[in-house]
Symmetry: C2
Subunit: 507 residues, 2 copies
């Protein structure tokens, strides 16, 4: 596209990536801010996307033996305090309920009354409240493992918020499992990470790298935190999911004990893991373009939209009937193991406006149906992964037959493109100067784009990790699993190192 | 069953209905109390039931043109105040967030700090916060109708709580729609009530009566509240769902205005409607018996359980393989438009204990599979709607073929039984003394059971409604839709009346 061509979203990614993000969320009708600080409204198009993502994940959880349950929204303050690192990690940003009624103060103003004996925290995460229940459920090794997941809303009082990426309230799933042995809990932690990777890559078309966090980046109270990290189009990293091996820390805090096979009383081993609506932010930043959102067909809120072109009222009934017939046939087709999701846009606005609407929302396939198409028993098709004006004609039968293949192909293309971005912007760096250059040099055409993922050696000292963070705003995203043993020198201090880690700027 | 026969649940319904309820919820492993006052833990068996109910309702909402979205958990105090009746209805029982962090008070004790400028209410219902967003979305008649539903948790600080029936936090769906005309909003209100009735009867096997509430029983701020009411086994009524016609009350409070077809600026007409996890309480009280829960097959968390009977370890692999084969075949069968839900109970405990476990949980069909059954290529079957010892043998092929029919039959039988209870305990009463007698006379054998639904005349005065409530703890459940016009005299004061209403004790 020529430099000054009109795009669906202003500014473009090149011009101002951060503002582009705000605009695309709005233009794609996915979410908006609310009157409540940091809390977003997830609009129907964004929520249906989340529901599709939920369905995919939920199926994977159930196939691996997990069941869902629901635990209280509120956590007594004293529960949160049970694990020292945990409370420290969350105390600074939590919504505190202190009263349970409102009363007129005598001057016509409602004020909180009925003070609670103990303040309640709106859950920022549920390890402590779920742990208290598990302590009652677990008596013997026969009660183990417990493999439970919860779909819920959580609240973390963030000061700087951004739709989907960082909001005070967000939706997520949190798995909480209890095991007899350390080994079994560790296997669960890793298995879930693999599951998250599979979900990100196969459903969201987002390639991720897997690894473990450095001690400083772990979940508060965890022995180890594993993560999947994805690369956004501005080359920054986004942590897309975490799986925590909690050791016996939370079992000790919540007294989750069991009688072992040898009849001794032991503390259990627990894990927790979660992904959130933040993934929607990742999806936008990986696949969105200057015309709007691009939805991976496998989780798209809808896959195909029919746009009837009606020039006069007389034609309307016939064209509508024709669209309905095509829709019915499409819905009988399956892709990704479910029926095609098809909509007809019957709104009384002009076709250009309609078409741009759907481009911005990122629907995979748009189908224009006018009087001439009807005469020829054909349809006029546009794919969201091609330019907005690239369209082609197919007979109705051809289209119905090819639609599933087209959607699968788009899913694959999106993944490939994202993988290319990741590969093109990942680099082994061994020289200190090159490393600093990598994260500071600006690309003239793309002022916000510099750096990417640097695979460099690190001596494992917190000092070096901190120095790089303070010099460059670059953090260690993870110590990746898939790397050969290799001797080298710390990129910061030059001391000996036995493995590379992934450095990047991040969300 | 003989008077002192051992039952799964102690006490029986006859002995102490209220305590029976508490025990059955626990024995069926559906929910339990938590450390947080009034907040329950919904256990996996109860939660899967709720998920199945959600799926059924969600499908019906989408088929009638609704979409899902998600709005903030918190409501600014000033929003709640916008509708006078509304705030009065909820101010006395709401969780108030006043601070956004915790800090050490210098003596090692964490205390709430970071006081909010304006307190936030944890949503007890979302008319006001959703209304504020709708006001931004609606400009013209072209933006209407808005047909949105939300699945969410809400909090009402109830002082006396009971699992599922009345909890501080509960799960529900709340529909919020906006319309151009009063007529259209009223049609929506009625359509949703019919949808609720259909869901209660066809999915939950609970017959309901439909009607409208008296002014005193309406939702705070509503112009009219329609409801479905069900009869529990103790003859009390339970309000199982409500659909509110809000007129322009909330549009005026939230300034939801639109430019009409004649280019004038008008307030919109809105509705709201909801059902909650309270329905699970209704399900238990309608279908549960003295041995435990009885799940209607259409929404049962699982429909069939296979119980391998293993006398020695050598037999185990063969019997397990046999069970797996049967399970795989059963899962290929469909009932109620989905695959059969089958579990194998592989726990290492005795078969009697296992069997009672599943009886209490109310699974529709139990299948015992021992070495002899395997030899005969047969299975030993028990239906939950028959006595716990009534079992019969079928060949595996017969069973696989008949299972869907058996489940459909059970669903129908459960509905019939509940309908019989409703019919047997509904009565037209025209005499004052008989009315008082009806609600006070005790049945010797069933001390808690007296009365039922009385269809009696009412003069429409609040005074008579209040008198009956204070004398008998009996309320007007609804002014039913399906009744012939009929002149009569108010059961309380004797004044003229043009229609009967339904009186009952209630939950």
């Amino acid at each position: 596209m020529a430099k000054n061509a009109k795009t669906g979203i202003t500014p473009t990614r090149e011009e101002d990536y951060s503002e582009w993000y705000q605009q695309i969320v709005r233009a794609a009708e996915m979410a908006e801010t609310s009157a409540v600080r940091g809390c977003m409204v997830i609009k129907p198009w964004g929520y249906q996307l989340w529901e599709n993502m939920k369905a995919g994940l939920d199926k994977m959880f159930k196939e691996t033996g997990h069941v869902n349950a629901y635990f209280p929204l509120f956590i007594p303050l004293s529960y949160l305090e049970k694990e020292a690192e945990h409370v420290e990690g969350f105390a600074k940003e939590c919504a505190v309920v202190t009263h349970h009624r409102l009363e007129d103060n005598g001057e016509g103003k409602l004020i909180p009354t009925g003070e609670l004996e103990e303040p309640l925290i709106v859950r920022p995460t549920s390890e402590t409240i779920i742990g208290a229940t598990y302590a009652k459920w677990v008596q013997s090794y026969r009660d183990l493992p417990i493999l439970i997941n919860q779909w819920a809303n959580v609240v973390r009082w963030e000061m700087r918020t951004r739709l989907f990426l960082r909001t005070a309230e967000f939706l997520w799933q949190e798995g909480h499992t209890v095991h007899e042995t350390s080994e079994e809990a560790w296997q669960e932690t890793k298995m879930i990470l693999d599951l998250y990777k599979k979900f990100a890559e196969e459903y969201m078309a987002i390639p991720v790298i897997t690894g473990e966090k450095t001690p400083g980046e772990r979940f508060p109270g965890a022995v180890n935190t594993l993560c999947i990290e994805a690369m956004m189009q501005d080359r920054k990293a986004l942590q897309a999911g975490t799986s925590h091996f909690l050791g016996q820390n939370f079992s000790k805090a919540s007294e989750i004990k069991y009688q072992s096979r040898s009849e001794t009383i032991e503390y259990t081993w627990t894990t927790s893991w979660g992904v959130s609506t933040r993934l929607v932010g990742a999806l936008i930043m990986v696949h969105g373009d200057d015309d709007g959102m691009v939805m991976p067909p496998r989780i798209a809120p809808a896959q195909i939209v029919l746009l009837p072109i009606i020039k006069n009222e007389e034609q309307k009934p016939a064209i509508m009937a024709y669209c309905q017939k095509i829709t019915d046939k499409l819905k009988q087709q399956t892709v990704f193991n479910r029926s095609l999701e098809v909509e007809i846009d019957t709104r009384d606005i002009n076709t250009g406006q309609k078409s741009w609407n759907w481009i911005k929302k990122g629907i995979p396939i748009r189908v224009e149906v006018g009087p001439r198409d009807m005469e020829n028993n054909s349809v006029f098709i546009a794919r969201r992964d091609k330019g907005p004006k690239e369209k082609f004609s197919l007979t109705v039968d051809e289209f119905i037959q090819q639609a599933p293949v087209m959607l699968e192909d788009m899913q694959n293309q999106l993944f490939k493109k994202a993988k290319q971005l990741l590969d093109d912007n990942s680099k082994q760096i061994d020289q200190h100067d090159e490393f600093y250059q990598y994260f500071t040099a600006k690309n003239k055409n793309k002022p916000e784009l510099h750096g990417g993922f640097a695979y460099s050696h690190w001596c494992q000292s917190e000092k070096c990790e901190e120095k790089i963070k303070s010099d460059l705003s670059v953090t260690i995203r993870c110590i990746p699993f898939d790397q050969p043993a290799e001797k080298g020198k710390c990129i910061c201090c030059g001391k000996e190192s036995s493995k590379r880690v992934v450095f990047a700027k991040s969300y």
